[in-house]
């Protein structure tokens, strides 16, 4: 059974910070399908649409009937270990630094044979469940878990290397004013976060829950205004070197499309917070976090953006706000590329309308702050890059995946009129 991970000792300031190394990143285009599924935490394999054969490794033509019509499909994840080994040395620096490293051959019940990482609790020749995860190069790897869960199985060093688990980590939540903040902070504390910094803008301006936030366990409230470059830089100077996960939940939302607004004043506010806010945070915190991605048990692991699902496809009732989120989403893709060499992961949580004032006129279902917090912690534990929070977001993403163009038409119908 996996032993619980102990809180890491205080960092010795005289020691050199370990430079990040990465597992091999190179993949064929076909294999990127596996990475795309891993980004969402799905175990999917290619299946031939003509003969039904499930394929692995990823390829361009069916090894049974030569059809080139292969589709990625969520697949049964059970299998049995046939052989295993522990790497004691490797020519790849990433693994060399982490030996012994357990891997094995697993025969999947669905047919293919895979080489995969083995969790420390897997029994010799035992039955396993395969998960598909992103490794520190941001590419998919298959990982075998024992069928029976054990209490501290997330602490397995190989599994933890794939995830962004909050346990023993120091986390910054950027906006105390967001109604979801207390819920997120509580969930992170329950998940084992060691310290939670919460940014608070304009301290003199009261907000509901101000006192409650300050009294939360493990929480430290610090001044932070994401629209003010100096404020962001000042906080990064103070805590940037010990921020392991940054959760950007600062957002500014107002209803309305282009005509209703009449001018660009409100849109500027949205861009200041939702787009430039993210950019300021990344410029101030990103470099320090990137140097600390191999810094022991509480190395920097993840950057989280909480975005509207309408960043994928505009909701004209909140047209300008959707646009600011689309800008933020696009920027997150750039960040993902820029953080990638360091192995720092960008996770976007796409939310449908939430239970707060500015979405009041919208019908249910809406996303509760508890759900946001739960999704966020699960996403970190599974090392995701993309997660869809609430029924509206999941529904919209399914439509987006099927056809962005049809979705756009569905979103922009004018209705029958009066």
């Amino acid at each position: 059974m996996t032993n619980p991970l102990l809180p890491p000792p205080r960092k010795d300031p005289q020691k050199r910070t370990v430079s990040p190394t990465r597992p091999p990143e190179a993949r064929s285009r076909a294999a990127l399908g596996l990475s795309a599924a891993a980004a969402e935490g799905r175990f999917a394999l290619q299946q031939c649409t003509e003969c039904g054969k499930i394929q692995y490794p990823p390829r361009d033509a069916c090894s049974n009937c030569l059809s080139t019509e292969l589709r990625w499909k969520d697949t049964d994840c059970l299998g049995s270990i046939l052989a295993e080994t522990r790497l004691r040395t490797s020519i790849k620096p990433y693994f060399r630094e982490r030996t012994p490293w357990r891997t094995g051959t697993v025969k999947l019940d669905s047919g293919p044979v895979i080489i995969c990482h083995l969790h420390g609790d897997c029994e010799r020749n035992g039955r396993v469940q395969i998960i598909n995860r992103l490794d520190r190069s941001g590419q998919a790897v298959l990982f075998a878990l024992p069928q029976k869960r054990s209490l501290y199985m997330e602490d397995d060093p190989q599994l933890r290397a794939m995830t962004s688990d909050p346990k023993h980590r120091r986390i910054l939540i950027t906006d105390a004013r967001n109604p979801n903040t207390p819920y997120i902070a509580k969930s992170l504390a329950a998940a084992g976060a060691s310290l939670i910094f919460i940014g608070e803008s304009e301290n003199w301006r009261p907000y509901p829950g101000q006192e409650a936030v300050a009294q939360l366990d493990k929480v430290e409230v610090l001044p932070l205004d994401v629209t003010d470059t100096q404020s962001v830089q000042k906080l990064a100077g103070a805590i940037g070197g010990k921020t392991d996960i940054l959760i950007n939940n600062a957002h500014f939302v107002r209803p309305g499309g282009v005509f209703v607004r009449g001018d660009t004043a409100m849109a500027k506010e949205e861009i200041e917070v939702n787009y430039f806010g993210l950019m300021r945070l990344a410029q101030a915190f990103g470099p320090a976090m990137c140097t600390r991605t191999a810094d022991g048990e509480n190395a920097a692991v993840a950057w989280v953006n909480i975005l509207s699902v309408h960043s994928l496809s505009n909701n004209p009732q909140y047209g300008c706000y959707s646009a600011s989120n689309a800008a933020a989403r696009s920027l997150s893709q750039s960040l993902r590329a820029e953080f990638r060499t360091a192995g720092l992961r960008v996770m976007n949580i796409y939310c449908g309308p939430t239970e707060d004032d500015w979405y009041q006129p919208l019908p249910p279902p809406k996303v509760s702050p508890e759900t946001v917090a739960k999704n966020l912690v699960e996403g970190l534990r599974n090392g995701l890059e993309e997660t869809y929070c609430g029924d509206v977001a999941k529904d919209l993403f399914e439509r987006f995946r099927e056809s962005p163009h049809i979705l756009e038409r569905e979103m922009t119908l004018a209705g029958e009129g009066p």
């Binding site: 597992p23 091999p24 064929s28 052989a83 790497l87 051959t105 025969k107 080489i115």
Partner: protein, 390 residues
């Protein structure tokens, strides 16, 4: 299926091996040139006499056999490049023999060579195969050590083989290597050294793994009357087979492609395993030696450990095996690893092996195995060579 035609009348000559080196500052081109020159001078030929050329190399990039024609000043009327690693030697001989048999070429030079710079093994791996990049390297697999650790683990579980069983193969080969001045390994190896060696990837330890090195080997293929006219010692091709991606349905590799065609091999050569005087298997890891001994018909599946425990695998023993030390002790010079057993087999049956000569060797079996494309070796081949007058 139509029976394949005999290779009667086609012979292998002028086996030449450049002494292997652990690291080299030279290029693959240099190593290939040296082996080609060495082989031609054994036969008393000039480069212009060669009208067929085939090459195998991992470190020749960006060149291929094409670039080498201009680089080396050759003008062949038959040209081939064989990217099959450990199966390259047998495959080269098969193709070259048919080319000569059919008159597409009179003298084919078959060459394999690779250099080994400090970082060239690691760099070579980055472009080895698409399945390896997608599905084994991400798991820390640098080269085939870990793949073979898995196959060895399964083989040991399936058939009750022990590390000592594999150790005996390695120890005997080291004894043979000490008689080969071109071998990289110069120190004796005891079973206790083998057992105590550092683990690389369980159950594989240091002496189960080959040493990547620089080196090259070459031989010539021509008509028997050509060799006789020039008074060049030769080996006859009694039978040979080749098979790729066999048994794809096996979940893990416990047998190779030899099993598909082995009956035809013995049939063509008109002999049985008892007749073999010297065996050269492909030996990047001892487990694959065991599989070849089984799959080529010396014993049943899973019986190699027991079969070999009753044999002496050294040059003077009753089952001379990998007489030049094999890759395990002579070194693995990239694609030349696919030639090392073949050139040694030619030397053995043509009585040119010098210090490693098995007395009275008339019939040799040589086997090739190559290319861990993902989870198993894909290419396999074998040939039975006979002396000029058996």
């Amino acid at each position: 299926m139509q029976r394949r035609r005999s290779y009667e009348g086609i012979v292998l000559t002028a086996p030449f091996s450049m002494p292997y080196q652990r690291y080299s500052i030279k290029t693959a081109h240099w190593w290939i040139a040296r082996a080609l020159k060495g082989s031609l001078s054994l036969a008393g030929l000039q480069p212009a006499d060669v009208d067929g050329f085939t090459v195998s190399s991992f470190t020749l990039f960006p060149d291929t056999a094409v670039g080498l024609t201009q680089h080396l000043g050759l003008s062949p009327r038959w040209l081939d490049h064989i990217p099959m690693g450990g199966a390259s030697g047998v495959v080269a001989l098969r193709r070259a023999a048919r080319a000569v048999q059919c008159g597409d070429s009179d003298i084919v030079a078959c060459v394999a060579g690779d250099t080994n710079h400090i970082d060239s093994f690691r760099l070579m791996l980055s472009s080895f195969s698409r399945f390896a990049s997608d599905a084994s390297y991400p798991y820390g697999y640098g080269g085939p050590n870990t793949n073979f650790a898995l196959l060895t683990d399964r083989y040991m579980q399936e058939f009750g083989a022990t590390r000592e069983d594999f150790g005996r193969i390695c120890v005997a080969q080291r004894k043979n290597a000490l008689l080969n001045p071109g071998a990289v390994m110069k120190k004796p190896l005891s079973l206790s050294d083998y057992m105590k060696a550092k683990t690389i990837s369980d159950p594989i330890a240091l002496f189960d793994c080959v040493m990547p090195c620089a080196g090259s080997d070459a031989f010539l293929v021509m008509r028997q009357e050509e060799a006789e006219r020039r008074k060049i010692p030769f080996a006859r091709i009694a039978g040979t087979i080749e098979r790729h991606n066999a048994h794809a349905e096996d979940p893990i590799q416990l047998r190779g492609g030899w099993t598909v065609d082995v009956d035809e091999l013995w049939d063509m050569a008109d002999c049985s395993p008892d007749a073999i005087d010297v065996v050269q298997t492909y030996d990047d890891y001892p487990v694959i030696v065991a599989m070849q001994i089984e799959d080529l018909g010396f014993c049943g599946k899973g019986e190699a450990p027991h079969f070999l425990s009753g044999k002496d695998m050294t040059i003077k023993g009753d089952f001379p095996h990998n007489t030049s030390g094999g890759q395990l002790s002579a070194g693995q010079a990239g694609a030349a690893g696919g030639f090392i057993g073949l050139v040694e087999a030619i030397r053995q049956v043509s009585q040119q092996a010098g210090g490693t000569q098995v007395g009275g060797a008339k019939i040799a079996l040589v086997s090739g195995f190559g290319m861990i494309n993902y989870d198993r070796g894909v290419c396999s081949g074998a040939a039975i060579l006979k002396a000029a007058n058996p």
